[in-house]
C-alpha cells in the first residue's frame, strides 16, 4: 500500500530526456496529483465503509453517546451564536434590499428559506469542522504518532471500531439536530433585526416563515446535513488516522499539517457537495 520513495521517479528521466519533455512535465505532475487524489478518495471511501459497518458492533452505544456529547452538545453554544448573528445580518441586509421594492413583508420568507435550505446546513457543518473536526484530526493524529493506535491493534481492539465509528455515528446524529437549532436561532436573529430593530410587522414575519417553508425544504436541509456529517468526519478522521503516512512532514508537524488539511478540505468539500446535492434535490 505504501509507495517507495526510492522507486524510480518518472520525472527523473525528463531532465535528461528527449527535447520537448519540458512541455509534458506540468501534465505529468498534474497526472500524478490526480492519481494520488483518486487513490486517497478510494482509500477514504473504504475507510468510511469499514467504519460504518463497525457502528453496529457490540459495546458501541456508550462511545457514541460520549461522542455526541463532544461533537453535538459541546457545539451548541457556538452554533447558537453563529446562527443568531447570521439570522440578524441576513435580516438586516435583506430588509434593505426588499424595502427598495416595497416587499419588506417577504423578509420572513427570505430569511427562513435561506437558512433552512442553504445557510443552516452549510454554516453548521463549517462551524462543527472548525470546532470538532479539527479536534478529531489532532486527537487521532497524536494517538497515531504516539503509538496508541498500534497499542489498540496489539490489544486486539479494532481502531476503526474504537476510534472512528463512534465519531461517524455521533456526527450523523448531531449534524441534523444542530442544523435545526441553527435554523431556529437564525430565524429568531432575523426577527430581532427585521422586526424589533427595523419595524417589520411581527405577525407578517412569522406568517411568512410558516407559509413559505415546506417540509421538503426541511428534509432537503437535513439531507445536506447528513452528507456534510459524512464528509467532515471521514475527512477529519482519515487525515488523523493516516497522519504517519505523510511524506511532507512527521511527528507533531505532521499532525498540525493534517489538521490544517482536514479543515480546509472539509470546508471545500462541504461547498462542492452543497452544490451537487442542491442540483439533485432542486
Amino acid at each position: 500500500m505504501t509507495t517507495n520513495s526510492h522507486d524510480q521517479d518518472p520525472g527523473e528521466n525528463e531532465v535528461t530526456g528527449q527535447p520537448g519533455t519540458f512541455l509534458t512535465r506540468p501534465f505529468a505532475g498534474l497526472g500524478r496529483k490526480v492519481i494520488s487524489w483518486v487513490d486517497h478518495m478510494g482509500a477514504a471511501t473504504i475507510f468510511f465503509g469499514k467504519a460504518c459497518i463497525m457502528i453496529f458492533r457490540p459495546k458501541q452505544i456508550p462511545a457514541i453517546i460520549q461522542q455526541i456529547y463532544y461533537i453535538g452538545a459541546k457545539s451548541i453554544t457556538i452554533i447558537m451564536l453563529v446562527g443568531f448573528f447570521t439570522g440578524m445580518v441576513l435580516g438586516l441586509q435583506s430588509y434593505h434590499a426588499l424595502v427598495k421594492f416595497g416587499a419588506q413583508g417577504a423578509l420572513g420568507t427570505l430569511v427562513a428559506l435561506s437558512l433552512v435550505r442553504e445557510l443552516g446546513p452549510v454554516l453548521t457543518a463549517i462551524m462543527i469542522t472548525a470546532r470538532a473536526g479539527s479536534a478529531m484530526t489532532a486527537e487521532i493524529g497524536i494517538q497515531r504518532i504516539s503509538e496508541q493506535i498500534d497499542a489498540l491493534d496489539t490489544m486486539r481492539i479494532d481502531p476503526l471500531k474504537f476510534l472512528i465509528s463512534p465519531r461517524i455515528a455521533a456526527a450523523i446524529i448531531s449534524f441534523p439536530l444542530l442544523t435545526a437549532l441553527f435554523d431556529l436561532i437564525g430565524i429568531l436573529g432575523g426577527f430581532l433585526s427585521g422586526v424589533v430593530l427595523l419595524g417589520v410587522n411581527a405577525g407578517t414575519y412569522f406568517h411568512r416563515v410558516q407559509s413559505s417553508v415546506e417540509m421538503q425544504d426541511v428534509t432537503d436541509g437535513f439531507i445536506k446535513a447528513l452528507v456534510f456529517a459524512v464528509i467532515v468526519t471521514t475527512v477529519c478522521c482519515y487525515q488523523g488516522y493516516f497522519t504517519h503516512m505523510r511524506t511532507d512532514s512527521y511527528g507533531a508537524k505532521g499532525v498540525s499539517l493534517s489538521t490544517t488539511s482536514a479543515v480546509v478540505l472539509s470546508c471545500v468539500l462541504i461547498l462542492v457537495a452543497d452544490y451537487a446535492v442542491t442540483s439533485f434535490l432542486i
Binding site: N4, S5, H6, K59, E139, Q143, S146, E147, Q148, D150, A151, D153, T154, M155, R156, I157, F162
Partner: protein, 414 residues
C-alpha cells in the same frame, strides 16, 4: 530437541532502500525470558513487531509452533493474538483515560466479563504494580516510572502467554530499572508466560534472562545463555556489550562483571602459583518475599544497601566486589588467606548485625505502612582461591560453605 515457540526463518524487512532485518534466523522457547540486545536503531523493535503482526516480513517467515503466522486462518490468528501482549517503548498509554481505564481497556473491549470481574482483575494488577494510590489519575500526572508500571499492568491484565517488552526500563533510575526487571522476572515465574525483552540494561538484564539474542547489522549473530555470551567472540561484543556495560554496575556501584573479571585477572597475574586468596559469596535470601511484602522498589533498595555495605567493609581491606546474580554478591580478598578472610567476615557479620541491619531497616521503613511481617536472611560463604583454579568453581565452593550471618525476623514492617 525442544520445538521453539516462535521462530524467524530468513526474515528480511526493508523500509525504502534500507534493509533493517537481513535474513534473520532466531528461536524463542516457551516459558523462558529471551532478551534481544543490540545497538539503537538496529531494528530490535521492528523484529518484535513482526511477532505480534504489526509488521509483516518482506521475505522469510515468522513461525508460531512451526506454523507461519502469515498463513494462519482467521480463527487461528485470533487464537494466537489472544495469547500475545505488547508493552511499548514509550508506553502508548491513552492520555485522556485514567490509569484504571487504561488497564481495564483490553478487558472491557475484548471480553464479556462482568463489570465487577473486570474491576477485580484490574485492581489486582494495579495493586501488584504498586499503583493503587494513582489508579484514578491520568498518565500525564504520573512520573515516568509509574507510567511504565501502568503499561506493564495493561500488558499483563489479560493473562497473556507471550509478552513482548520493548525497552521496558528506558528512562528509569537504576533502582526502578532493576525493580521493573525484577517484576518482569517475578511475574514470568508466577504466571509462566514467555517473555521477549528488548533491553540495553547490561548486565542487569542478564540476571533475569534465560537466553540472549544479539542483533548486529540486521542479523542475529548470537543466541544462547548469558554464560555462553561470555565466551562469544565477535565484533558485536566490543561494539555493543562493552559500550553498554559501564565500569560500575548502576544499582550497587560495584564493579560490573566484566570489569570485575579484568581486575581479578590483573591481580591474579601478579601472584605466584603457590599464593592464595579468598573469595566470599553473599546471598540475600527470600528476595521474592521481600518484593511481595515491601515492593520491588524497596527490594532493589535493600540490594543496593547490602552491596554498598559489602563494598564499604571489604573495600577497606583491599577487596573488590561485584553482583554475581540478582541476589548474590562476590567479593575477592586478594591479600587474605582463608583464616584472615574468616576473621574479616566475622567482623563484617558483627558490624552488619549491629549497624547494617539498621541501614536496611531504614530503607524498608521509608515506605512502611503495612502490618505484614517479613523474614529474610543473609548468607555468606568463604572459599580459598589459587591462581590456576577457575573462579566459577571457587564461587561454587563458597556457595557450598554458605551459612547464615544475619537474620531479620518480623522486624521490617511496611
Amino acid at each position: 530437541m525442544e520445538t521453539p515457540l516462535i521462530e524467524f526463518k530468513n526474515v528480511t524487512k526493508r523500509f525504502g532502500s534500507r534493509t533493517i532485518l537481513d535474513q534473520v534466523n532466531l528461536k524463542i522457547y516457551e516459558g523462558q525470558i529471551s532478551t534481544i540486545i543490540g545497538k539503537s536503531g538496529t531494528g530490535k523493535s521492528v523484529l518484535l513487531k513482526h511477532i505480534i503482526g504489526l509488521l509483516a516480513p518482506d521475505e522469510g517467515s515468522v513461525l508460531f509452533r512451526e506454523n507461519p503466522i502469515g498463513s494462519l486462518k482467521k480463527s487461528e490468528w485470533d487464537a494466537y493474538r489472544v495469547q500475545v501482549s505488547y508493552m511499548f517503548q514509550n508506553n502508548a498509554l491513552f492520555d485522556s483515560m485514567t490509569v484504571y481505564d487504561n488497564v481495564a481497556l483490553p478487558l472491557q473491549q475484548t471480553t464479556n466479563l462482568s463489570k465487577t470481574e473486570i474491576e477485580r482483575r484490574v485492581m489486582a494488577r494495579i495493586e501488584q504494580t504498586e499503583l493503587t494510590e494513582v489508579a484514578y489519575k491520568y498518565p500525564s500526572e504520573l512520573s515516568g516510572g509509574m507510567q511504565k508500571r501502568v503499561a506493564l499492568s495493561r500488558a499483563l491484565v489479560t493473562d497473556p502467554t507471550i509478552v513482548l517488552f520493548d525497552e521496558p526500563t528506558t528512562g528509569q533510575d537504576p533502582i526502578r530499572k532493576n525493580a521493573i526487571l525484577a517484576m518482569i522476572a517475578e511475574y514470568q515465574r508466577k504466571l509462566g508466560f514467555t517473555a521477549i525483552l528488548i533491553s540495553h540494561e547490561i548486565p542487569d538484564v542478564f540476571f533475569i534472562s534465560n537466553r540472549i539474542l544479539a542483533l548486529y547489522n540486521g542479523k542475529i549473530v548470537f543466541q544462547g545463555t548469558p554464560e555462553e555470551l561470555d565466551e562469544f567472540e565477535h565484533p558485536f561484543k566490543d561494539e555493543v556489550i562493552q559500550s553498554l556495560e559501564g565500569f560500575q554496575e548502576e544499582l550497587t556501584g560495584l564493579y560490573s562483571q566484566r570489569h570485575f573479571k579484568v581486575r581479578y585477572q590483573t591481580d591474579l597475574s601478579r601472584k605466584r602459583r603457590d599464593e592464595t586468596y579468598a573469595i566470599a559469596l553473599f546471598t540475600l535470601e527470600e528476595l521474592e518475599a521481600i518484593s511481595n511484602v515491601l515492593g520491588h522498589t524497596t527490594a532493589q533498595e535493600i540490594i543496593r544497601a547490602l552491596g554498598a555495605y559489602i563494598d564499604k567493609h571489604f573495600g577497606a581491606v583491599g577487596g573488590f566486589s561485584t553482583r554475581h546474580s540478582i541476589n548474590e554478591f562476590v567479593t575477592v580478598l586478594p591479600y587474605s588467606d582463608l583464616d584472615e578472610a574468616g576473621r574479616i567476615l566475622e567482623d563484617f557479620a558483627k558490624d552488619f548485625q549491629d549497624r547494617g541491619i539498621r541501614d536496611i531497616e531504614s530503607v524498608a521503613q521509608k515506605e512502611s505502612d503495612s502490618t505484614e511481617c517479613i523474614n529474610f536472611t543473609i548468607l555468606a560463604g568463604l572459599a580459598q582461591g589459587k591462581p590456576f583454579v577457575e573462579m566459577e568453581s571457587i564461587i561454587e565452593f563458597a556457595k557450598f560453605r554458605q551459612e547464615e550471618i544475619a537474620r531479620f525476623q518480623c522486624e521490617l514492617r511496611r
